[in-house]
Amino acid sequence: MTQQPCYHCGDSIIGKEINFDGKSFCCNGCKSVYELLSTNDLGAFYTIENNAGTKPKKDDQHKYRFLDVEGIRSKYIHFEDDTSLHITLFLPQIHCSSCIYLLEHIHKLDPRITSCQVNFAKREATLIIKKTLPVSELAIILDKIGYAPNFGNKEQQQKKRNYQYLYKLGVAGFAFGSIMLWSVPEHIGMGDESIGFRKFTSYLSFLISLPVLLYSANDYFISAFKALRYKSLNLDVPIALGIVALYLQSCATIFSGNGSGYMDSFAGFVFFLLIGKWFQSKTYQSLSFERDYTAYFPVAVSKKDGDKEEIVEIEKIIVNDVISIRNNEVLPCDAILLDDSIKVDYSFVTGESIPITKKKGDFVYAGGKLIGKKSDFHVQRKSNRSHLTQLWNETTKKQEVETSGTDSFSLYFLIGVLIVSTVSGIAWYFITPERSVEIVVAVLIVACPCALALSKPFTYGNIMRSLGRRKLYLKNVDVIPSLNSITDIVFDKTGTLTTGSSNQIELVGNKLSLEQKSAILLLANSSTHPLSKSIVRALQHEVSSTDELVNFEEHEGEGILGEINGISYRIGASKFVHSEATSQENETASHVSGNGQYLGKFVFNSEFRSGIMEMLDALGNNYTVHILSGDKDKDKENLMQEVPTLTELHFNQSPKEKLLYIHRLQAQNKSIMMIGDGLNDAGALDAADVGIAISEDIFRFTPSSDGILDADELFRLPYLLTTAAHAKTVLMVCYVFSIVYNLVGLTFAISGHLTPLIAAILMPLSSISIVLISTILTAPKEN
């Protein structure tokens, strides 16, 4: 049966669809957003792009309360007067033109919002609101329609907006155009008749090109100088040398009165170099890697001072403070529990999906999410030294092998060029001494490996973008060569090979009546156990309940029971519900009974994503594939049968063991790509040569990963790896082209048939042809 996707978010509808207004929705959240939008005249949201919505997350509304604290609030507000304030929020969910439409018409949802302006590139919205609307309420409104604001490390990202390179480009372009324009009379021979005019233009050129040398090109000099100081070479050395040589040569011509030199070529050269750089940075900009792990940390917490409770910033919490944490909030620092028993979910830190029970007086580590009633904690350690950050720091920092830009190959080429230019200079000194400088300059410029230097960033940049179109987002271009040297691929199973949150649930046994279902829903809803939550997810589409639950009890490790409409229900292990039915081995199931009568069981299947087996099979041809799992080995047989090449399967692995496993493989000189969901394998992702985090929504970010891959595209991994390998071929073509180019140019230059002017015209031409070649060869093929 093929179903329409959810009208709002476009997800396929699992379970019973919700019909409203002739449209189908996947959940009540999506329906209510639709309702909200259509009653407020914003139906056009759906006509701009189909299924454009973002699924709203049910979350605690308390979490935005910190926004009303003065110290925190002022970080986001940039203008305030008596009646209104201007606030800029980072909304990572902005993804299409419908989002812009909705957000810029948000004033229709609440009259207290005056206007909103979206910056799509930065995924930011600047809102003007009336003072009667608290900022926390604004955040809730945004959250409700699916754009939850993100408050991680805001100040840092805001500061970084550097226009310097654009200014440099502008100055170089200005000089290039101007000098070229007034060189025209000289080039067509007019200047010959008037020494005065020639002198005038040449001095003017000299003046105008000064800022190009000192301002536009200064990055090259700084970089070359740094390299030389550490007694090494980088590609900026010959570029800087070429720039200086060309400039000095031109100056010499100008001041000896022999013409205006090659100032136009000089400015043009710098201009083209900068355009190349700008193109590169544009490529990087289209990837937003702005979030770091601090986005997961709470910004503020409520501190108890006697009977008073106030919200303070995390940084201000000191040892011996008493803080209180609500259900679903993350504990920001190591602390001792002061209240009765609660549960703590460490899934973010350790990957353990089942919450741990903590009793009064227990030590609780930071990073745990509290499940249960609001509790007080006695702070033991300041938040920055906590267990969480330590876990991240524990992972070995990747040594910075910054040979990028100067791979050994172009380095040798570079040394060769320097030697050749010196030798030919000396040789020509003996033939015709006055031409010697000219030859050296011509050699330096024509052989300057800038085409070579451009090959790599352009090719990798293009490959990176074409991978991005397939929803594999790499952190930077340096990941591509690492991708190509991979020998082993390690997969995390749960959440990576299998679907994460939407476990498939199957009801085995008699058909339940609607009344029974709603009772089970109600009962399961009172528990925070992951399996109960799965049951709730499965049933909430079908029924809803207004009945009252009484005598609720939760028995640790056994199950839950409660009374609804006089019938007592039990959900849990088979022993707990007093049934003879036993769970099959390696099966996760919850049994249900009503008034002592066995009703059936829910079986939880973790489902493999589509195309996974084929993918593993295909990868097995070229790589050694490993699978690590924190789970029981219930899928082992299944996997082994489907993918015969698979031999390395390891189950019951803790995050620490996963990390050690990667280290063990690396000790055998293997190059590892780790693919995981980033929740319980962050350490392993970081340790691997390439760590790719699988993401079900693309805005979740894993700090230690080298890239993010959309979960639905995982089956394309072999294709993605081929694309990355393609980079190598294209790079070779570019290298060969630029070397041939350089060699031909060199022969002409050494034999004295090339003036510096022609050389300077040829140089940007070679760079441009490299850009063209690389763009054409890496153009994505339609499948």
Partner: protein, 68 residues
């Protein structure tokens, strides 16, 4: 005659330089103003229908600095 041509060329040269400097300055001004920050949103925004005049908000909008 020749001198006349040269005079014009000097003039043109100075004028071209002034024009170029004007463009350079306006480029820097535009960059500083953030006009190159976001090259996507405005292209979408212009296509939205003004399905109704923004009612009763116009007063408060005038004291804000929203540029519409």
């Amino acid at each position: 005659m020749f001198l006349c041509i040269m005079g014009v060329i000097y003039l043109m040269l100075v004028v071209s330089l002034i024009v170029a400097i004007f463009f350079l300055l306006s480029f820097i001004w535009a960059t500083k103003n953030g006009q190159y920050d976001d090259d996507y949103t405005p292209s979408v925004r212009i296509l939205f229908d003004d399905d109704e005049p923004i009612n009763n908000n116009s007063n408060s909008e005038s004291n804000g600095s929203s540029e519409v």
